[in-house]
Symmetry: C2
Subunit: 252 residues, 2 copies
């Protein structure tokens, strides 16, 4: 079995309002790459957020009392904290340099995914929020690629997140369209006929991590990667399959 991870080169800087599907397909064509049916296109959250104009200039933000308090604890800009609070359902942990929240979409992450790297700065500091609905972003991109190429692909919007217990960020799936994010292997037999009892695989997270590994290495910025050769059952899918319900989680 041979799986290919193909970074699409030459994607231009993305601006609010850009047609991301057309930009990606245009760059793929220019590099003589063609989408095939069942490809999985993994796109970095940052360019999705830019195209969707999920940018906030901190100059426009007035921090609340709570934001100022948390700014004190974390040593972060109170306006940034306000943006993070606006993007969060719940604050889980704070300490110097760190705020971990349940982000509006339901994922646990630092800073609610709000980040200023790879964002063109203007007079005031500009930060990017996660997409409003990353599954919907993935669905739109999937439909657009189908429209432009006639190919039926799946799309994952990925981001790099920190984790409990382990150092280093890894790519995770934030939005999914076209496949089951979680693969249920319970009941399948192992090599000796033993029924697997607990195996649900975070498939979309593994694909997101694989693509992230390539994105992080491309000589120029490569915010889109084609994963080719994996088999999966086409399905609507949602990254929320990967978000553990609060009452099921022992670590919050």
């Amino acid at each position: 079995m041979h799986v290919s991870l193909l970074a699409i080169p030459g994607i231009p800087m993305v601006k609010p309002g850009d047609d991301l599907g057309a930009l990606i397909q245009g760059s793929a064509m220019a590099a003589e790459m063609r989408f095939l049916d069942d490809d999985i296109l993994v796109v970095a959250q940052k360019i999705v957020s830019k195209a969707e104009n999920r940018l906030v200039c901190l100059d426009q933000v007035v921090p609340s009392t709570r934001a100022r308090e948390l700014a004190e604890v974390t040593g972060k800009d109170a306006r940034l904290i306000q943006v993070i609070l606006d993007e969060s359902n719940e604050v889980l942990k704070t300490r110097k340099g760190l705020i971990v929240v349940e982000q509006r979409l339901g994922f646990i992450c630092a800073n609610a995914g709000v980040d200023r790297s790879n964002i063109q700065q203007s007079a005031g500091e500009v930060v990017a929020l996660l997409p409003e609905d990353a599954d919907a972003s993935a669905r739109r991109l999937r439909a657009r690629i189908a429209e432009l190429t006639g190919r039926r692909i799946a799309v994952i919007v990925n981001d790099s997140h920190g984790r409990a217990f382990r150092e280093g960020t890894v790519g995770i799936a934030l939005g999914v369209a076209g496949l089951h994010a979680l693969q249920d292997r319970r009941g399948e037999a192992d090599l000796f006929g033993f029924r697997l009892q607990n195996t649900e695989v975070g498939f979309a997270d593994e694909v997101a991590a694989a693509a992230s590994m390539v994105m992080g290495q491309a000589a120029e910025a490569a915010p889109a990667v084609i994963v080719r050769g994996l088999s999966y059952t086409p399905a609507e899918g949602s990254a929320l399959e990967l978000a553990r319900a609060k009452e099921k989680d022992m670590f919050r």
Copy 2:
């Protein structure tokens, strides 16, 4: 940029004492695959544990009082709990069906990585433990492949672990030889010259997840995958770079 994930087909059932390097190299040759310098070989923990005879027959285990108490709480076999305790530095959480520990190597995981799937069963139930020292296992395998092929590769021993906050298991690096498990990108500039401040990448975990995604899909069992085309700086490396120190972790 093109990265290939190549499952090595036809690896025979591994038995205690087997020369894993020779088995993998033999299967690769038979499939007309050749190792190249800078390949990363990812090997499933289960076959490493089998070759190293990290197998325990539960019939041989006498559970302690504590093991019997935790068996009550979790609903698991008290002998299995005893094996898990013997493999653990600390028990973090228990509840019906689940025990989460700091495994002897320093990683947080369920059941201390002790598992019975894909293990040939005898009269009494047999379970596999994690390798005694998974970095050392990776180093030995790396040296053996160099000896057999003259190629300088890196090796990752991977396993599927559950996580806090997210559903589904993903491949993680349990043992590493030949590369830095954690890549420090702090101080590098982003697309607009902004210095990245918090970016340490769990590189070996991303590679492990990518390989896991392929291992889980191969038509026959494919417990070894070659990752080809990634660039990395050769280094001794250790998976322990990825284990967050207890006092630094907010979730334990």
